[in-house]
């Protein structure tokens, strides 16, 4: 069954008729060709598909496209503005917080959402906050540094 859905993605209004069972991540990747949002698992454990829905980090594999009706969605493609990277993106680059880049979009967006809670977290708080995002490359060391700096720059 197709259902119509309207939302804002990276600042632009989007309307579509979608299958009721279509996941939000499928809608972003397949319909909107926003392939920066990745799929790394099928149990909502890896966090590679993390996006911002109304500024909150959400695993887009765990939400139906139709549930995003009226929502304001930000994907990794929408984070930089006017050609300059978001402070969190800059911090990841500066501190080598990414290697293969596959977990990176979800990791960065989750980190951005943290700013609503704290701008100067402890290392333990950062590590706890990253609990929903796997990285197999970096051992998290440089991600933790990047998140700390990114949050400080966002303050």
């Amino acid at each position: 069954m197709k259902i119509s859905v309207s939302l804002t993605v990276n600042g632009k209004p989007v309307s579509a008729e979608v299958e009721s069972r279509m996941l939000l991540v499928e809608f972003l990747r397949d319909n909107l060709h926003l392939t920066g949002t990745h799929v790394g698992c099928d149990t909502a454990q890896c966090g590679a598909c993390t996006i911002l829905v109304n500024d909150k980090a959400v695993k887009s594999c765990n939400m139906l496209a139709v549930q995003a009706q009226g929502a304001r969605v930000t994907t990794i493609e929408g984070l930089a503005s006017n050609g300059s990277l978001h402070p969190m993106q800059e911090a990841f680059r500066k501190h080598h917080g990414l290697q293969c880049g596959f977990c990176t979009p979800g990791m960065v967006l989750n980190a951005v959402s943290l700013a609503a809670q704290t701008k100067s977290p402890t290392e333990a708080q950062i590590r706890d906050a990253l609990d929903g995002n796997f990285c197999r490359c970096t051992g998290y060391h440089n991600i933790v540094k990047a998140v700390r700096e990114g949050l400080a720059q966002m303050a």
Binding site: R29, H33, L34, T35, G36, T37, H38, V39, G40, C41, D42, T43, Q45, C46, A48, T75, I76, E77, L79, A80, L85, Q89, F92, R93, K94, H96, L98, Q99, C100, G101, F102, C103, T104, P105, V108, E123, A124, I126, R127, D128, L130, D131, N133, F134, C135, R136, C137, T138, G139, Y140, H141, N142, I143, V144, K145, R148
Partner: protein, 800 residues
């Protein structure tokens, strides 16, 4: 936050190594990050081809079964389905997936190589073995239709544990190997080892399992295969670490296609760790079917499929003994290992527990005689192959657990026992075939002890005790053989391929440069480090250099990335090509300046007449090469584009010492890594930031093996118990500490960059360091990995 990074030059370092030349040695931000940080990376699943269809594989739900019949009629009639194929549809001319390394057993017979069909033929041999492919207009339609395939299985008894598989009367995985033995192989002088043991003052014996792991790159395997009628050619996008090898194996050994009619592109790849080295059934079937269906076919593994079908790692059962004299001098080592191959031989499976394992058992020590016997065993599990470290973590675990246990038993300090046995003269011929070119093991040990503040450990332990906590310290002084490999040596040991690397340097008319490398970057940052190497030599900015990798259509050839070989072998090939560019550039510059070639030197991006300030910049030479109006056309071809192949003369030998400090709550068994220190010698370093990142990542995987990760198959049913991220414990951010890393430098003696490779060190050194620390903390001789809270708690209780 702990963030201690120490870089010191070893006292034995050659003076030349201490000087960073321009971009080489600089902590440069990565060129590739711009696309990865903005969602512009292009991974295989991001590739959309016009008119593409989607594949779904139906997989065996059983560990071992005979296929009585398969009914596909209903699936074929399902909405959107384009084709359904089973093993019966694959032509007899299609071969099995080959194994790239022939191990000859101690009995002189070749290993058993049962056919590894690309779709099951008559039997399935592990959970996840592909049985059929459904190709449909959409992914959902393919998946729905696959559920309508009726397979009539006759379940057979299964065996998943190597110890069970070696028992008399165990179910046979293959008829060709009724005892499940693939080979029994040995290295070393057994008589000399036995004689040394008979005279030993002390013998330390350990028996343990090196736990089976699932690599789990976060990008699942994927492919997109298409056939072009216009020129009878195929293009395969695939998440793979070595596209040329993938193409060679697929065309020449399996599908019988002309190699030049297949282009393999491995675009951005989301981590590999070994698991994407291999030629797998799925992409091979998709290439074959793309012609039959006449549409591009896309397949992306679900994570559940990755768990059951990616090649796994480790899975050894080992008995290891170390003989020492009364002063703690090592006299001999004796090791017996049973290694699981899984149900089929994966691409490099056979060489992992042999060539990359037994040869490393000397470690950093002068142990004069070593004997190792390895029995490779088929089991009803996913194939086992290289996973980060590949044989070397298993060898390090053997050596460093033995050394630590011997030190405890003989009441000799951990560092002291190591020092009494360190190799200090180079080159050093080990009793297990390798010749170490250089190293300084004391430097890394001393550096690690200092960085880990070993002096303050007693006080920290006392403070822990006041809080009712146990504290322990563990060392691991590892060595690895990287930079695989001299082709003739590998060939004499059974390799069925060369292990050189290719590099092409194309200087464009404007002086900009494109580098084509046979190495493949899937997180290692080659686009930056390789550009740094070229920029340093040519005296141009790294922004003027692009590095292209992962495409058989653009790169001359390649053996790919694994075994920490990229900078040592791939980087050297590029340097050789750059040397050719400079040599030709000198001739062009000499002509322009009307002097002899021998009077021209190349420095800082300029060709200069020696002893003068007369010069021609590099870009002018490049332009002249492509606009050869004033040019020695009678002696020199136009253009500035050079290719080099480099075959190393020896392995490289990165080595170091890792020190782990743990704190354990005896009430719960919960183990916390209080600190982890790694001081490594990777030879010269191109980009310290990237090297540190590689070490961090390796450590996380090594600590993961020691504390969390374990692939579990049910011993009765053969089902994979740890088949999802809900069941397989991958390290999350809160499971790990920040790391203290440092380096010491003894430049590799046999490649021009003096580099050794750094990708696997963390995964190799860490497990033994962690387990030695835990054993030290709770005062037990041994504990099985992963040291879960339950296992630690039980060990504490058993001791009390």
């Amino acid at each position: 936050m702990t963030d201690t990074t120490v870089r010191e030059k070893s006292t034995t370092a050659a003076p030349a190594a201490a000087k960073a030349t321009g971009p080489i040695g600089a902590r440069m931000e990565r060129k590739e990050d711009a696309r990865f940080l903005t969602g512009a990376g292009q991974y295989t699943d991001d590739v959309q081809l016009a008119n593409q269809s989607y594949a779904c594989f139906l997989r065996s739900p059983h560990a071992h079964a005979r296929i009585r019949s398969i009914k596909t009629d209903e699936a074929k009639r399902s909405r959107g389905v384009l084709a359904v194929y089973t093993g019966a549809d694959i032509p007899a001319t299609v071969g099995g997936l080959p194994c790239g390394w022939l191990i000859t057993g101690s009995d002189g017979k070749p290993m058993k190589e049962p056919k590894h069909a690309i779709l099951a033929q008559g039997k399935v041999r592990h959970v996840g073995d592909p049985v059929a492919i459904v190709i449909a207009e959409t992914c959902e339609q393919a998946k729905s239709a696959s559920e309508k395939i009726e397979v009539d299985y006759e379940e057979l008894p299964a065996v998943v544990d190597v110890r069970d598989a070696m028992k008399k009367g165990a179910p046979a995985v293959h008829d060709e190997a009724p005892d499940n033995i693939c080979y029994v192989w040995a290295l070393g002088d057994k008589a000399a080892v036995d004689a040394a043991f008979s005279k030993a003052a002390h013998v330390t014996t350990l028996e343990f399992v090196n736990n089976r792991l699932i690599p789990n790159a976060i990008e699942p395997r994927a492919c997109n295969a298409s056939f072009n009628r216009a020129d009878d050619s195929y293009t395969l996008y695939v998440a793979n670490q070595n596209p040329h090898v993938e193409r060679l194996l697929m065309t020449a050994f399996v599908l019988g296609l002309p190699e030049h009619k297949v282009r393999v592109i491995a675009p951005d790849v989301g981590g590999g760790f070994g698991s994407k080295i291999y030629l797998y059934a799925e992409e091979t079937v998709c290439v074959w079917a793309s012609k039959a269906v006449g549409r591009p076919i896309k397949w992306t593994a679900e994570r559940s499929e990755s768990f059951v079908s990616d090649a796994h790692g480790r899975d050894h059962v080992t008995k290891a003994e170390l003989a020492l004299d009364k002063d703690g001098k090592f006299l001999a080592m004796r090791v017996k290992t049973a290694a699981s191959m899984g149900a089929y031989l994966s691409t490099f499976a056979s060489c992992i527990p042999t060539i990359l394992y037994a040869t490393l058992l000397a470690g950093q020590y002068t142990t004069p005689v070593i004997h190792c016997e390895v029995t490779a065993v088929f089991t009803n599990t996913a194939p086992v192959d290289a996973y980060r470290g590949a044989g070397r973590p298993e060898a390090t675990y053997v050596v460093e657990r033995l050394v630590a246990t011997a030190a405890t038993e003989m009441k000799i300090a951990q560092d002291e026992l190591r020092r009494r046995n360190f190799i200090r003269t180079f080159p050093y011929q080990t009793p297990v075939a390798l010749t170490y070119d250089i190293g300084d093991y004391d430097a890394c040990l001393n550096g690690a002890m200092e960085l880990a503040d070993v002096k303050g450990f007693a006080q920290r332990k006392a403070e822990s005790a006041k809080r009712g906590m146990l504290r322990g310290l563990g060392y691991s002084s590892y060595i690895e053989a990287c930079g695989l490999a001299p082709s003739n040596v590998a060939g004499s040991l059974g390799a069925r391929a060369g292990l050189f690397e290719a590099g092409e340097v194309r200087v464009h008319p404007t002086g900009k440069v494109t580098v084509f490398t046979g190495s493949h970057s899937h997180g290692q940052g080659h686009e930056t480090t390789f550009a740094q190497v070229v920029a340093g030599r040519l005296g141009i900015g790294i922004e003027d250099i692009d590095v292209v990798h992962g495409d058989t259509g653009r790169i001359p050839f390649g053996m790919g990335t694994y075994g920490s070989r990229s900078i040592a072998v791939g980087g050297t090939a590029i340097m050789k090509a750059v040397d050719k560019i400079v040599a030709k550039g000198r001739k062009i510059a000499a002509h322009l300046m009307e002097v002899s070639d021998t009077d021209v030197e190349f420095k800082d991006g300029k060709f200069t007449v020696k002893g003068t300030d007369k010069n021609v910049p590099f870009a002018q030479v490049a332009l002249t090469a492509y606009v050869p109006h004033n040019y020695p056309l009678d002696k020199l071809e136009p253009g500035l584009d050079e290719t080099a192949f480099y075959d190393p003369t020896n392995f490289t030998y990165p080595a170091g010492t890792h020190i782990c400090e743990v704190e354990i709550d005896p009430q719960t068994g919960e183990t916390r890594i209080a600190s982890f220190t790694a001081v490594d010698d990777f030879g010269n370093i191109i980009n310290p930031m990237i090297v540190e990142g590689q070490v961090h990542g390796g450590l996380a995987q090594g600590i993961g093996q020691a504390l969390l990760e374990e692939c579990v198959y049910d011993r009765e049913s053969g089902q994979l118990v740890t088949g999802s991220y809900m069941d397989y414990a991958m390290p999350r951010a809160a499971d790990l500490p920040s790391f203290k890393v440092g380096t010491r430098v003894t430049p590799c003696t046999h490649n021009p960059l003096g580099v050794k490779g750094c990708g696997e060190a963390g995964a190799i050194g860490a497990p033994a360091a962690v387990m030695n620390a835990i054993c030290d903390a709770i005062g037990v001789k041994d504990l099985q990995m992963p040291a879960t809270s339950e296992r630690v708690w039980r060990a504490i209780r058993a001791k009390a």
